[in-house]
């Protein structure tokens, strides 16, 4: 498995062919390795490859390609994997809009797709498919869980904010669904916005007692830095997408004290997680993010199903996936009827670590056994 390690270490190779065997399984991974937000794709890939390496199997071949965060390119790569390489399983896509471009055709053509990140509502509801499994979360999960947590904690006047695009409006709707109370305001920002002075002034001007925001990636970094220097004193809450270990290191002290919901935490105590976190740090010399955990779980789910059946036997393999008989790093994990997870969502707080750098610390459970609201629309 030398090649796997080299690949996982993120050297030049982004596509590699491993030793050929009889009955070997081919997995195609389309993920974002270049351009903005590429640290998510890199972590999904590294987590996935770590699980394969730890399993010691050499009959699983993984082909990896970079979609550069472009839906048309992702679509073309999916065709390449299915039509030229004849892969058994596809995985890897990070973004909802790319998933919407790729997943429906893949599953309709009979190939399995396992999502290591992103769970748009359509794929959980009216467009669900028996060959599609989401091993990460439905997009509303973390926002809804934060709504439940903030109500529980007694915040009565939150102001909420997200970019003006489908995932943003869904996030706020998901939050409100489980928060159930009145919010004092909703702010929509622009996609890719870098300056939040105008929004911060509005937040200060409002009567809110707390702020919930969904600003993934660089948008979250910009916002939190500007929030700190504005001197507004209000507790802030969000989903893990703005608070992964890499982002909060880039934000610095401004992130300290923020609470965020996540389906996983590195200090979650279970055997599988200990093995994952130690293995990841040893192999890549950095702290894993939730994306790495999702990639790791995705690979382990596949490996567990391969123990029972080969993907050529579609019905048997699908049943094996549905059983989800693997040790998830997030503890309990099972699939709902629409092949989306039913799982606990945790709350983490950003604190100053032993090395003085900000890090996430697990502080509790936001909501147990959360399930998306779309499964009733799903007919397979």
């Amino acid at each position: 498995m030398k090649q796997v390690t080299r690949l996982g270490l993120g050297l030049l190779l982004s596509s590699s062919v491993l030793a050929a065997h009889a009955e070997e399984v081919k997995i195609g991974m389309i993920t974002t390795l270049s351009g903005g937000g590429s640290h998510l794709g890199v972590d999904v890939r590294d987590g996935f490859m770590l699980a394969l390496e730890q399993s010691g199997r050499d009959d699983v071949e993984v082909l990896i390609q970079d979609d550069a965060n472009r839906p048309d390119l992702a679509r073309s790569l999916a065709n390449e994997f299915m039509q030229r390489d004849e892969v058994d399983i596809l995985t890897g896509i990070i973004w909802s809009n790319l998933a919407m471009a790729v997943v429906p055709t893949v599953t309709r053509q009979g190939t399995f797709y396992l999502s290591p990140n992103a769970g748009p509502s359509d794929l959980a509801g009216r467009m669900c498919h028996e060959n599609y499994f989401n091993v990460a979360y439905q997009n509303d999960n973390l926002h809804g869980a934060m709504g439940a947590y903030m109500r529980e904690e007694g915040y009565e006047h939150p102001i909420i904010m997200a970019p003006n695009y489908p995932a943003g409006t869904d996030a706020l709707a998901g939050f409100k669904h489980l928060y159930e109370g009145e919010v004092v305001g909703e702010l929509y920002t622009q996609m890719g916005q870098t300056d939040y002075a105008a929004e911060i002034a509005q937040i200060r001007d409002s009567d809110a007692d707390s702020l919930f925001f969904f600003l993934p990636g660089g948008m979250g970094i910009s916002f939190m830095k500007q929030w700190e220097s504005s001197g507004v004193d209000m507790p802030i809450f969000g989903a893990a997408f703005s608070f992964d270990e890499i982002l909060i290191k880039a934000v610095g002290s401004a992130a300290i004290g923020a609470r965020n919901t996540s389906l996983w935490a590195y200090d979650l105590e279970n055997e599988a997680n200990a093995r994952f976190v130690e293995g990841f740090q040893a192999a890549y010399d950095r702290m894993p993010t939730l994306y790495a955990a999702q990639g790791y779980d995705t690979a382990n789910l596949i490996l567990s199903a391969l123990e029972t059946a080969h993907p050529d036997d579609k019905d048997a393999f699908r049943e094996a996936l549905r059983a989800a008989d693997f040790d998830s790093v997030r503890g309990e994990f099972r699939f709902g009827p629409n092949h989306h997870p039913i799982q606990d969502i945790y709350v983490r707080e950003v604190v100053e670590g032993d090395d003085g750098e900000p890090t996430n610390r697990l502080i509790g459970i936001a909501i147990e056994d959360i399930q998306d609201v779309y499964f009733e629309e799903c007919q397979m």
Partner: protein, 354 residues
């Protein structure tokens, strides 16, 4: 135009240099003719062979190249022949794509596109989609062109970019048709008599589209209109002294250019089964320009050569290294610095009027 025949003659000489789709007899076997025939022949034969060898992927790749080439043929009419450097052609490509997507969406859902002032249903017919896409793109280009063509030079580049950005942001945040998530087309739009969902058939449709677009460009540039457009690019003062206003000539060329690019966009949406605001982004406008320049500006076969090279690099470099865009940049830089007249200039030699 009747009052000045010498002008049209002079200009049409300048314009004939590279407007013949099929080289005239006798010039079949010169270097340029051979390169052009080889290019078109390979584009047709490779996917056909791949199809019968069972490699569907390469057929779809060829369709992608063909469609991108067609979009670039449209842009080349504006940039190369008309001298109008549009940095906003993604707007037409995306609009064409959205026509295909929205039409299929309503046909699939059996909901009308609009109910007032009259009920307009969706349609899954490719012919309807193409017609509407070309017409809407032409209308949009008429509006944008009418304002933009009052400016010249860098201002023109930037105002076309501004209009495209407006449409991009609009599509990104308008939720009805998916916003940033885009809009899937579940079942490819159909044509009477042929099976458009077959990969080879669809490639052939695209191929015919490309050849037609090139033929239209070729005919147009050989006509008196083309002569006037060339003169407007080379010396609009002289054109104006001949009693012809360059503005309407440019505007018409700009509109035709947009319609061709819009048609390509509709084909692209159906090929991918998906349309998203990405098709409208300034990056795509930039890529289209890059393809035109890469192939050779103002050369009939330039966009085709550029599209082949660009899509192949994008596809195969991506499999070699995750830093493929760095090498793509280096190749592009090499072309602009050392192959001044694009790939076609390098393969087929310089134009007589260069």
């Amino acid at each position: 135009m009747t009052n000045n025949t010498s002008l049209t003659n002079g200009a049409s000489q300048a314009a004939t240099a590279d407007t013949a789709l099929v080289p005239k007899t006798g010039s079949h076997f010169d270097r340029k003719g051979l390169v052009q025939m080889a290019l078109l022949g390979l584009l047709l034969l490779v996917p056909v062979a791949a199809y019968f060898l069972g490699h569907i992927y390469y057929v779809n790749l060829a369709s992608r190249i063909t469609i991108i080439a067609m979009a670039a043929v449209g842009l080349n009419l504006a940039i190369g022949y008309g001298g109008m450097v549009s940095f906003g052609h993604a707007a037409y490509f995306g609009l064409g794509g959205y026509v295909a997507g929205i039409s299929a969406y309503h046909a699939f859902d059996l909901t009308p596109f609009m109910t007032w002032p009259f009920s307009l249903p969706g349609s899954d017919s490719l012919l309807v989609v193409w017609l509407v896409a070309a017409l809407l793109c032409a209308l949009l280009a008429l509006a944008i062109g009418a304002i933009s063509l009052r400016t010249t030079g860098v201002y023109f580049i930037m105002i076309t970019l501004a209009f495209a950005q407006m449409i991009y942001y609009f599509a990104n945040s308008w939720p009805t048709y998916g916003g940033e998530d885009g809009l899937p087309i579940y079942i490819r739009n159909t044509l009477p008599l042929v099976d458009s969902s077959n990969a080879l058939t669809y490639f052939l449709i695209c191929f015919v589209g490309l050849v037609l677009a090139m033929a239209i460009t070729s005919r147009l540039m050989k006509s008196r209109f083309g002569a006037a457009l060339t003169m407007a690019r080379l010396n609009d003062v002289r054109l104006a002294t001949a009693g012809i206003s360059p503005y309407p000539i440019r505007l018409v060329a700009f509109v035709i250019s947009a319609a061709i690019t819009g048609l390509a966009g509709a084909l692209y949406a159906d090929l991918n089964g998906f349309v998203s605001p990405n098709m409208l982004s300034w990056h795509f406008s930039g890529e289209l320009m890059v393809i035109v320049i890469l192939g050779g500006v103002g050369r009939l076969y330039g966009p085709l050569a550029g599209a082949v090279l660009f899509v192949m690099m994008e596809t195969f470099l991506g499999g070699v290294t995750q830093y493929w865009q760095l090498f793509l940049g280096l190749v592009l830089l090499g072309v602009v610095l050392f192959a001044k007249h694009g790939v076609m200039g390098w393969l087929a030699g310089r134009e007589r009027n260069e």
